[in-house]
């Protein structure tokens, strides 16, 4: 057990604003006929020409609060917030291609209405997420297809396309940027100078890529054909998304751009803005999250979903820093498990356990000779907890407090990241780990100790016919330093999840989901409906629906296996850099918690049924009539 310090920051920093809001609430008369549990906010969204606009995201934030609630207009342009606390709210409406509609509402009556008239704008590139930028880049010639591929392969591991292309530069400007990027050190990402070898593909394509980017986003006319994605409709427009700001523990002013104002473009994750990574809901109304970047204060934390109060937990580490982690999971008993850095440099990564009822922390260290705990953890159906390692997977039995080590069958490949990336435990006590750059999914049987593996097929690049033998040789010699961490034709399975007899793995570059039978190891690849978004983390809810984050599309997908139906939920913030998501059964209702790493937020999405919305609509009509 390590020493843990707990720090509360809560809303103290916003005390003045909170006081103002409180004063407003006190002096406003309240209505006795308020909706159950709060006040209702509704309205109509139209274009300036009077057209009713469906799928517009409408967000409300109580003054002085760090919580934003968002809903979407239906096909009649109407929106309905769930019951909210009384108070003064900033309300805004956003749709790609339109200026932000803004309003302020005092929720001091049973129901309030705020309508918006949306004005279109000619240049809305800054409002787009990566998938739409990718769709806008032309594929009319082999050269365009190849350079689009090169751009995606070499630049989007660290930056989404919408961030990269938000500004225009001439060829020299782009060339300078590429040169800088080519010389970054790993893993520190500092400028390495003349002596640091460039990423080979950056060096090889520097001139060609600079010319391509100047053609796409330079002084002249761009061949990009920009179009917004279809606005949410149907089920996707019925959800409620609540976003919670998780201020940086060391720099609470960051990130300055939290993605909720689309006119600012997509945020940067630099300067300590990024930090939170995985999120799990508990049975007590909290979301627990990991911290994946260095911090003096935070190793992990939790936020009270009702009040927004954040509690930071500090596990002291070397050099005055808190140790940090990456992955978090919840076992069948509601216990949280996550990884933590080694106690000392060079030591093994550790497994941490927290009982959310008591916040008691226990830390377990793999014995000497075994691999350390890596960047993903997952509970299996037999009470074990799996963790990805540098050499495969490791299973911890909480009863015996013993670790069991599993080695990948294919490990020392001359190319590719050797360690495991993601891991999932299944119902039978097996562990499944992804070898991201080798397109291999390993399986460890905790009963027999045997290891087997599934090898996924290579994916077809959009520019397979455009690459020369020389270019292929360059990629071969460059190995993992593409620098996409993988070769251009890899699927790149990332963080999987198991449900019943199925192991689901999202293929980050393949834009598909691998569905694997845990007994026969037979697989199928199911294409996802959004391209170039980056499927990252997969979770399965109590209804066996499959949920996936798309890192750079500001979207989470839901897949219903029996009907093979996909639903795409667009989140209210742009540039969130979505990473982890988890599902939670909240008294029969599925809640999906999502970590927005780039904007420093946790989002909780809850679907609403048509019946629930109709009831809310009826309630609004009734209360409005009573006014």
């Amino acid at each position: 057990m390590s020493i843990v310090r707990r720090n509360r920051i809560g809303l103290a920093a916003l005390g003045v604003l909170a006081f103002s809001a409180l004063a407003m609430i006190i002096i406003q008369p309240s209505r006795s006929q308020a909706a159950p549990n709060g006040m209702l906010l509704t309205g109509l969204v139209t274009s300036t020409s009077g057209e009713k606009m469906g799928g517009v995201v409408v967000s409300a934030q109580a003054e002085g609060k760090l919580i934003i609630t968002s809903v979407y207009t239906d096909d009649q342009g109407r929106y309905y917030f769930p019951a909210m606390d009384a108070g003064s709210y900033n309300v805004w409406a956003q749709a790609v291609g339109y200026e932000t509609g803004r309003g302020q509402v005092n929720l001091n009556g049973a129901v309030r209405s705020q309508n918006f008239s949306m004005k279109s704008m000619p240049d809305f590139l800054k409002q787009l997420s990566q998938d739409r930028i990718a769709a806008a880049l032309p594929e009319d010639t082999p050269e365009h297809r190849k350079m689009k591929d090169v751009f995606e392969n070499n630049c989007t591991s660290c930056h989404p396309m919408n961030f990269l292309l938000q500004n225009r530069f001439d060829k020299d400007g782009w060339s300078s940027a590429i040169y800088l990027m080519s010389r970054l050190t790993l893993p520190d990402m500092n400028f390495g100078g003349v002596d640091y070898p460039p990423f080979p593909a950056f060096q090889y394509y520097r001139d060609e890529l600079a010319a391509y980017l100047a053609e796409m986003r330079g002084p002249g006319t761009s061949p990009m054909r920009i179009s917004p994605r279809a606005r949410p409709s149907g089920e996707a427009a019925m959800a409620v998304v609540t976003e919670y700001d998780i201020p940086s523990p060391d720099r609470p002013d960051l990130p300055a751009n939290r993605g909720q104002d689309w006119s600012l473009g997509t945020p940067s994750s630099m300067n300590g803005a990024r930090g939170i990574h995985d999120v799990i809901l508990d049975n007590f109304g909290n979301a627990w999250f990991t911290q994946s970047e260095p911090s003096v204060i935070r190793s992990y934390g939790k936020i009270n979903l009702k009040t927004g109060e954040v509690t930071n937990y500090t596990v002291p580490g070397p050099n005055g820093l808190a140790v940090h982690g990456h992955a978090m999971t919840r076992d069948q008993d509601g216990i949280l498990w996550f990884n933590l850095q080694p106690a000392a440099p060079g030591g093994p990564g550790r497994l941490a356990r927290v009982d959310p009822a008591t916040a008691k922390l226990d830390i377990y260290t793999p014995p000497k000779g075994m691999a350390g705990v890596g960047g993903d953890v997952s509970a299996d159906g037999k009470g074990g907890v799996w963790a990805a390692t540098e050499t495969g997977g490791i299973r911890f039995d909480p009863k015996t407090q013993k670790f069991q080590d599993f080695k990948s069958l294919t490990l020392n490949s001359p190319i590719g990241m050797q360690g495991s990336y993601g891991i999932a435990g299944d119902q039978d006590g097996n562990g499944w780990w992804t070898q991201i750059s080798l397109d291999i999914i390993g399986k460890g049987d905790s009963y027999t100790g045997e290891v087997s593996e599934v090898k996924l097929p290579k994916r077809a690049s959009r520019a397979d016919d455009a690459y020369t033998a020389e270019e292929r040789k360059m990629y071969e010699l460059a190995g993992t330093n593409a620098p996409r961490f993988t070769a251009p034709d890899t699927q790149a399975p990332r963080r999987p999840a198991a449900d019943g007899d199925i192991l689901w793995a999202p293929d980050y570059f393949g834009d598909n989901v691998a569905k694997i039978d845990i007994h026969t190891l037979k697989y199928t690849l199911i294409p996802i409906p959004v391209k170039d978004g980056g499927p990252y983390k997969l979770a399965v809810d109590k209804n066996h629906d499959v949920w996936i984050t798309l890192v750079d599309a500001d979207t989470i997908l839901k897949y219903d296996p029996p009907t093979q139906k996909w639903t795409a939920f667009t989140l209210p913030s742009i540039g969130g850099g979505l990473r982890h998501l988890s599902t939670f059964d909240n008294q029969g209702t599925v809640q999906v918690a999502i970590c927005e790493t780039r904007t420093g937020k946790i989002a909780v999405l809850q679907e609403r049924t048509k019946r629930e919305l109709q009831a809310l609509q009826a309630q609004v009509q009734q209360l409005s009539a009573e006014k």
Partner: protein, 282 residues
């Protein structure tokens, strides 16, 4: 070039192989403190681990080793000058060390090259920081990182000019060999000295610009598992064309060339030496 060398008698402790190699190097006095020294090694087996890292070279001829002061635009830097014993003009070879300075490893390489019939000058590019002998392995790495890149190129060029003035050197056949950190500097030298005869470089960084000025044939050794370095072979070849050739040593990292490291591969290292000599003699 200022030859301030004189013979130095080896101490008893050295002969009994009890001294640390770093202490020996300090005795070699490449720090340029004024007590410049020359050692004459006769090929005795006790000396080979120090100055001849590649085993199985029992028939190497004697090599005269001198510490020299190399004039630059703003003073002198130290260097090791190694000449095969005997007379006559010989091809010159400038050897540029890696980022840990001119340590015993590279002195051994220089001697091996000299033993093959080259007049080898190995400048100590840490001279401006006090000299390689002043630093341990880790310190040397930090110190080289602090050096101004352009200044080191100027020092390499000054070393080339010194070697060209040596009466025992065929000025038309001066080549260069560079390792790691020194590779970029050899490429930069070739940009400034088109008459550089040949260049052999081991796992280093190619300059991002200016390669079109190079007329010198280059040969580069790459280790397959050093992806970030090795992946640049294709671009370098594309730009330099017929003036660039390379070889990738399968399933190796850079350590394959350095005896005593975990990744040392005697067969690969021997092949690298063979290719080096063949290219320099071509």
């Amino acid at each position: 070039m200022q030859d301030e060398s004189k013979s130095l008698e080896l101490p008893e402790s050295f002969l009994r192989h009890r001294m640390q190699r770093r202490e020996i190097l300090r005795m070699v006095a490449l720090a340029g403190t004024g007590a410049a020294a020359a050692l004459v090694f006769d090929g005795n087996s006790w000396a080979r681990p120090l100055l001849s890292p590649q085993s199985g070279q029992d028939t190497q001829p004697n090599v005269d080793i001198q510490t020299v002061q190399i004039p630059t635009d703003d003073g002198n830097i130290s260097g090791a000058l190694m000449k095969p014993t005997g007379a006559g003009k010989l091809p010159g070879l400038l050897m540029v060390h890696a980022d840990r300075g001119l340590n015993n490893l590279f002195l051994g390489f220089a001697r091996k090259l000299a033993a093959d019939g080259f007049v080898v000058l190995a400048p100590d590019l840490l001279s401006r920081a006090g000299g390689s002998a002043k630093f341990n392995f880790a310190q040397a790495g930090r110190e080289t990182a602090q050096l101004d890149p352009d200044s080191t190129v100027a020092d390499v060029k000054a070393s080339y000019n010194s070697l060209a003035k040596d009466s025992g050197v065929d000025a038309q056949k001066i080549s260069a060999v560079g390792f790691g950190w020194g590779v970029w500097r050899v490429f930069m030298l070739a940009q400034e000295v088109p008459s550089l005869h040949r260049a052999v470089v081991f796992f280093g960084t190619t300059p991002a610009d200016g390669l079109d000025k190079i007329r010198t044939p280059f040969f580069e050794h790459y280790a397959q598992l050093d992806f970030r370095v090795t992946g640049n072979a294709i671009w370098t070849e594309k730009v330099l064309g017929k003036n660039f050739s390379y070889y990738v040593y399968p399933k190796t990292n850079q350590q394959f060339f350095y005896e005593g490291t975990p990744g040392y591969n005697a067969d690969a290292a021997a092949l690298a030496w063979k290719k080096t000599f063949e290219f320099l003699r071509s």
